[in-house]
Subunit: 161 residues, 2 copies
Amino acid sequence: MPTLPLSPLDATTFAPFGQIIAPEHAAQRYPINDGTSERFHDLARVDTASAEGRTLLSIFRAEPRSLPFPVRMLERHPLGSQAFVPLDPSTRYLVVVAESAADAPKAFLLEGGVGVNLARGVWHHPLLALDRVSDFLVIDRGGPGENCDEISLSETWTLTM
Amino acid sequence: MPTLPLSPLDATTFAPFGQIIAPEHAAQRYPINDGTSERFHDLARVDTASAEGRTLLSIFRAEPRSLPFPVRMLERHPLGSQAFVPLDPSTRYLVVVAESAADAPKAFLLEGGVGVNLARGVWHHPLLALDRVSDFLVIDRGGPGENCDEISLSETWTLTM
């Protein structure tokens, strides 16, 4: 089985798949509320309005996975983006994405409270929490239409750290 | 100055103002991802699409306030809802809301990772973090139009715990 190593995480390497949600990735930041708060503005392209869609806020409570982990399948949401934001800064998780179903997947380690927004239609593995049961705020699309495709990969990739 | 005491927080008392964002407030919960996660589904009514609006994801980094705190003003966002979800379960914050600009405000203490979604147009005080600098994911509306009204209250309320 081929090995799927971690890719370095930065806005450029992640750009084909979506956005990294963290203060240091804000294009705009400014003081609000008489200077008592700072707004790190518009960190992700939420794309949930197609085909009579609306934005959902949900919480996913994820069991931890153990490594090495066999990546055998991917899914995508053709009608909307999907963002994951950990609700505890100690949460670590893995994001596995692919530019197409034929391409080798890429794996990224997310930690330190950093979230991701997966663009509409991006192939990805379901949530891979590490270490412990972890809660994530998920911002995705509700509405009519079938919004999940799944594929089995032609080979299994072994995800390690 | 009149005192503004804390009101007990539950879905019924908070209903005039919006929704409480927490797993135990989910109307629907179900297993996903082959049973490795549980989805606490659709916890808030995100209302951001009016007048060519779109959903924004931002982070607010809030300085802590000290108590007793004088509540002298409120604001509202006539074009969209605004949700606040703390990014650390140890965060505590206060939410001050009013059914109308003429009504006495109500104050709620939020802790344990619990978020709130303020319905479109609800009068509220700007974010009141406690204890330490605190990060919140904020889900609100971007788009054309003026989306913030402010009023000075006819009397100052002293917020205590």
